[in-house]
C-alpha cells in the first residue's frame, strides 16, 4: 500500500504539469542542477559531524555513558538494551539503523525490545545532523534553546514509545 503513494503522487504531478503546459523537462533539469551545489555546500558539515560521532563511538565513551545512565533510563521505563540506541540516535542515522538491525536480530523482530526500538527510531530524528545541515547555509552561530528542546522531545518520545509498546 505505502509503496504506491509516492509513485502515484509523481504521476499525478507530471500529468498536472502536462495539463498546465509547463516545460517539464527543462524545469526538472533546472531543479536537479541545484543538487550538486547543495551537496558541495553541505559536505564539509556532514563529514565533520560524522568524524566526531565515529571518534565518540570508537573511544567507547558512549558505552561508558550508557552504563552510567542505565539507572536513570530504568526509572524512565526505557530498557537497558536500548540505551545506546537512544543515546546515538540524535547523532547518526546510519549508525542507529545499524544498531536497530542488530537489536532485531538479537531479540527477534516481534519482541518487546525490538518493537520499542522501532517506535523510538520511527518517532525521532538525527537532531545534530539536521541542525548542522539546516544551519550550515546561514550566518547563525547561536542556536539558543533549539538543541535542548529537540533532545527533550526525543527523550519524551522514547519514554512514550516504551510505554505504548507495553500497552499495544
Amino acid at each position: 500500500m505505502s509503496a504506491y503513494i509516492i509513485p502515484i503522487l509523481f504521476v499525478a504531478l507530471f500529468s498536472y504539469c502536462y495539463i498546465k503546459k509547463i516545460n517539464t523537462y527543462d524545469t526538472f533539469v533546472k531543479g536537479a542542477k541545484k543538487s550538486i551545489s547543495l551537496v558541495v555546500d553541505i559536505f564539509p558539515f556532514i563529514a565533520t559531524i560524522m568524524i566526531a560521532v565515529a571518534l565518540l563511538r570508537a573511544s567507547g565513551i558512549t558505552a561508558i555513558l550508557a552504563g552510567l545512565l542505565s539507572p536513570v533510563f530504568n526509572l524512565l521505563g526505557i530498557p537497558a538494551e536500548l540505551i545506546e540506541l537512544v543515546l546515538l540516535r540524535p547523532f547518526t542515522g546510519a549508525g542507529s539503523y545499524g544498531l536497530l538491525e542488530s537489536v532485531l536480530l538479537e531479540y527477534g523482530p516481534d519482541s518487546y525490545i525490538s518493537r520499542c526500538a522501532c517506535v523510538i527510531l520511527g518517532c525521532s530524528e538525527t537532531i545534530f545532523y539536521v541542525a548542522t545541515v539546516y544551519f550550515s547555509q546561514t550566518k547563525v552561530k547561536k542556536l539558543l534553546y533549539a538543541i535542548p528542546v529537540a533532545l527533550i522531545c526525543a527523550l519524551v518520545g522514547s519514554i512514550i514509545a516504551c510505554l505504548l509498546c507495553k500497552v499495544i
Binding site: G31, C118, Q137, V140, L144, A154
Partner: protein, 181 residues
Amino acid sequence: MIISSMCFLLWSSPATIVSTMVEASSGALKLSIDLCAVYAVWLGVLELVDASGLGEKLAKLLHPLIKKLFKIDNNEIEKMIALNMSANMLGLGNAATPMGINAMKALDDGSGVANTAMIMLIVINATSIQLLPSTVIGLRASAGSTAPADIIFPTIIATAVTSICGVCLVKLFSKIKRRKK
C-alpha cells in the same frame, strides 16, 4: 566532544584515531553522493511543484498552521516550509532537507542568533510527524517479523506527542526570552 574522545583513544588505542577519522569521512563522502542523487530527484520534482503553482496551493492549505507556528507573513518562505512539512509527514526526510535549508536561508536575519521561527523549524524537523516509518518497517520485514507494520500506530502517537511537546516548549522558551528583554 572531539577532544575528549581523542584523549580517550590516545590512551586506549592510538593507532585507530586517524583511520577512524578517515573512515568516517569517506562514509560522509559516500553519503553525500547518495544524497546528491536523492536531491537531484527531489529538487527536480520541487521545481515542478513550484512551477505548476501546486506549491502555492499547498502553502495556502497549511497557511493557518504555519502562521500560528512561525508568525511569518512571506509567501515564498511559507511555500518552502509547507513543502518541508509535507515531505516530513510522508517520511521523506531526505526530500525535506533541501527545502528546509532554503527556508532556513530565507529566515536568516544575519544577526548570528537563531530567531524563534528558525528554532521552530528545526524542532519541527527534529520531531516531525511521520505517517509512514517506511525504513523501519522495511528493516523489520527483512528480519522476519510476522506483522512488520504493527508499529505504525504507536509510532504515530509517539511522534504526535513529541511534536506537540516540541511546539509548546519553543513557544514557552520564546515567551520567557521576550519577557527578559
